[in-house]
């Protein structure tokens, strides 16, 4: 007879090893997904590059040196210079800050609106649910890119300062993207509200607001994280498409998208690929990495959600 089995005879409760928390299980599952971990590394690298990299650059955004204009990549300018003699690498890193920030904040806005409305719809049901879900239907059917283009054109017409445009962009992209998250959250809450712990909150006489925000919404965090991660990738693509068309982030503020619009000039497009290929690769790599992470998170946090 082994030593561990001995206490069983005494009919006393066995002090069991604490089971792992769901989060720890999720982290372990995520770290076993090699592609997702690679994605995570790439994203961390991109953030470091964009947010810390510029401090190590010998150039500044306002270094215009006409002598050094349109230089191909060299040891002095790693990625060459543009028509004003500005260092492409530095501009690319600063552009990354804008693009990543727009992606993150826009998704943050979508999540806040979507989660709140979804929770309200799922919790109160009846006419609240009908109303909110009808509005979500409307937003779902709105063609996102055309509406974004129209709104971008309006920003140009209203002569919004270039430096303020990024805030409007975040808001626009965020507001247009809430509907899918609200649907997911609503679906989850409809199921959760019937569970026993909600009866407990009823018995405790908790206020609705506390029930929703402290007890129901935290349970939907895993699926919110997954769809928000994938949402960031989408938001970055939307931002860069708009900026490429000249109605998103506009110069002098650099963004990956508006750096690529250098390709609209045939000579730059053909003879000076260093102007537009590096920022394009940045978008591609970032979005691939985010999608890999999102997929890894989906498997780790919510295996049922895997399609």
């Amino acid at each position: 007879m082994s030593a561990e089995a001995a206490p069983l005879k005494t009919n006393l409760p066995v002090p069991k090893k604490q089971p792992d928390s769901p989060w720890r299980i999720a982290i372990r599952r995520f770290s076993r997904n090699r592609l997702a971990v690679i994605g995570l590394f790439i994203i961390v690298f991109m953030f470091l590059l964009c947010f810390i990299g510029p401090f190590f650059s010998p150039y500044s955004l306002y270094d215009y040196s006409v002598l050094d204009k349109n230089l191909p990549p060299s040891s002095k300018y790693w990625l060459g210079t543009d028509k004003l003699g500005r260092d492409i690498l530095l501009r690319m890193m600063l552009a990354g800050r804008i693009s990543l920030l727009v992606g993150l904040v826009a998704t943050g806005i979508s999540v806040i609106i979507g989660a709140t409305l979804g929770a309200l719809a799922g919790f109160y049901r009846k006419w609240v649910d009908t109303l909110i879900m009808r509005i979500a239907d409307i937003f779902m059917a709105l063609p996102t890119l055309p509406i974004l283009i129209i709104l971008g054109a309006i920003l140009s017409d209203l002569k919004v300062e270039p430096s303020d445009r990024i805030y409007f962009l975040m808001l626009i992209i965020g507001v247009l993207g809430w509907s899918s998250i609200s649907r997911l959250v609503r679906g989850q809450i409809l199921g959760l509200r019937e569970q026993e712990f909600m009866q407990a909150t009823e018995a405790l006489g908790l206020k609705d607001r506390r029930k929703i925000f402290r007890h129901l919404l935290p349970n939907t965090v895993p699926i919110i994280i997954v769809s928000a991660t994938l949402g960031v990738a989408g938001a970055i693509i939307f931002e860069s498409s708009l900026s490429f068309l000249g109605i998103g982030v506009v110069p002098p503020t650099p963004s990956w998208g508006n750096m690529i619009s250098a390709a609209n000039n045939l000579i730059d497009f053909r003879k000076r690929p260093w102007l537009w290929i590096p920022p394009g690769m940045c978008i591609l790599v970032t979005v691939v990495a985010i999608n890999l992470i999102g997929d890894g998170l989906r498997d780790a946090l919510d295996p049922k959600m895997k399609k």
């Binding site: 409307i138 055309p146 309006i154 860069s240 498409s241 490429f244 978008i283 691939v288």
Partner: protein, 320 residues
């Protein structure tokens, strides 16, 4: 089924009203109108006012909205200010160019995705599967405009294999056959990009769907009967794996007729997406509004279509 479709169609109505209000409200936020956008130096203030009166641009927004909706119900989307033709005529002129590249890339991406999905599910965890998985992620993450530009740079400008853009070589006179070849040659790059963009998620869909089906008992039965592996996979498994994918067919509806705005701009393809982008830049309200509503209607009908298709294809699904 009939009842279901009618009820769904009725449900679309309030959604459409909401959409039309939002679209109209957004467009009325735009300062300036077609008259200011044209920027004609000989335009006097009186002339401009006169023109605004003719086009009904001087009326209050609510009145304009009601007139617009009223006309739309009669099938009249107004006249495009840029093209000086009814919006529906302009749409009809360009939508087919968009449809051609869309339908080709649709067929291609479904075929490629079906094969890639089936084989990566069959050989799960193999090298092939891993490569497909990576490619899928790459395709799902492509910024369309960047990949379009890359292809133009390398295959059209540097290598000269394909034309840089447009739909026909200008001034070409040849037999119908030659002209068709010419168009096909121009279509190659845009169709490639569109196919890449949609194949990624489709392949993923087929792969997961196939993985589920392959584990079913009836597949084991089919193998036990001594059927050839090819028959098992393509006849017994693929057919069932296709079922959930049928829902995706409906979602393709807006992209078939809606044009690909960015692709058409980059490849200078004379499709409806490019005309639409131009209409936004020129403040051509009738076209801009009419076409936006058109895409929304297609989206809603597409959703309905996909539900109906699913219910028809899979008797286990009951539509309520």
């Amino acid at each position: 089924m009939k009842q279901y479709i009618i009820r769904r169609l009725l449900q679309i109505i309030p959604t459409l009203i909401g959409i039309s209000i939002i679209i109209f409200a957004i467009s009325s936020l735009v300062p300036g109108d077609y008259i200011t956008a044209v920027d004609n130096p000989t335009m006097t203030a009186e002339k401009a006012a006169q023109l605004r009166e003719i086009y009904g641009l001087d009326k209050p927004p609510v009145e304009r909205y009601l007139t617009w909706v009223g006309n739309m119900l009669k099938g009249n989307l107004g006249d495009s200010l840029v093209h000086k033709q009814p919006v529906t005529t302009v749409m009809n002129n360009y939508v087919w160019n968009s449809f051609f590249i869309a339908i080709f890339s649709l067929i291609l991406s479904w075929v490629i995705a079906a094969f890639a999905g089936v084989f990566s599910a069959k050989f799960q965890y193999s090298l092939f599967d891993k490569i497909i998985t990576l490619l899928v992620f790459l395709c799902m993450s492509l910024p369309s405009f960047f990949i379009g530009l890359l292809l133009i740079k390398f295959f059209a400008l540097d290598l000269g294999w394909f034309p840089v853009g447009g739909m026909k070589t200008s001034g070409m006179n040849g037999s119908t056959w030659d002209q068709l070849i010419d168009i096909a040659w121009h279509m190659f790059l845009p169709v490639t990009v569109l196919t890449m963009l949609s194949t990624g998620s489709l392949t993923r869909y087929f792969r997961t769907s196939m993985l589920e089906v392959i584990r079913q008992d009836y597949i084991r039965t089919a193998r036990a009967k001594g059927l050839k592996e090819r028959t098992v996979i393509f006849k017994h498994a693929l057919r069932n794996a296709m079922l959930p994918a049928i829902t995706l067919m409906g979602f393709e509806l807006p992209s078939l007729f809606g044009g690909a705005i960015i692709m058409e701009k980059i490849f200078i393809w004379p499709g409806v997406g490019q005309v639409y982008l131009e209409s936004i830049n020129m403040r051509d309200y009738p076209f801009m509004l009419g076409f936006t509503v058109f895409i929304s209607v297609l989206t809603l009908l597409g959703n309905l279509l996909s539900d109906v298709l699913y219910g028809t294809a899979d008797p286990r699904i009951r539509l309520k």
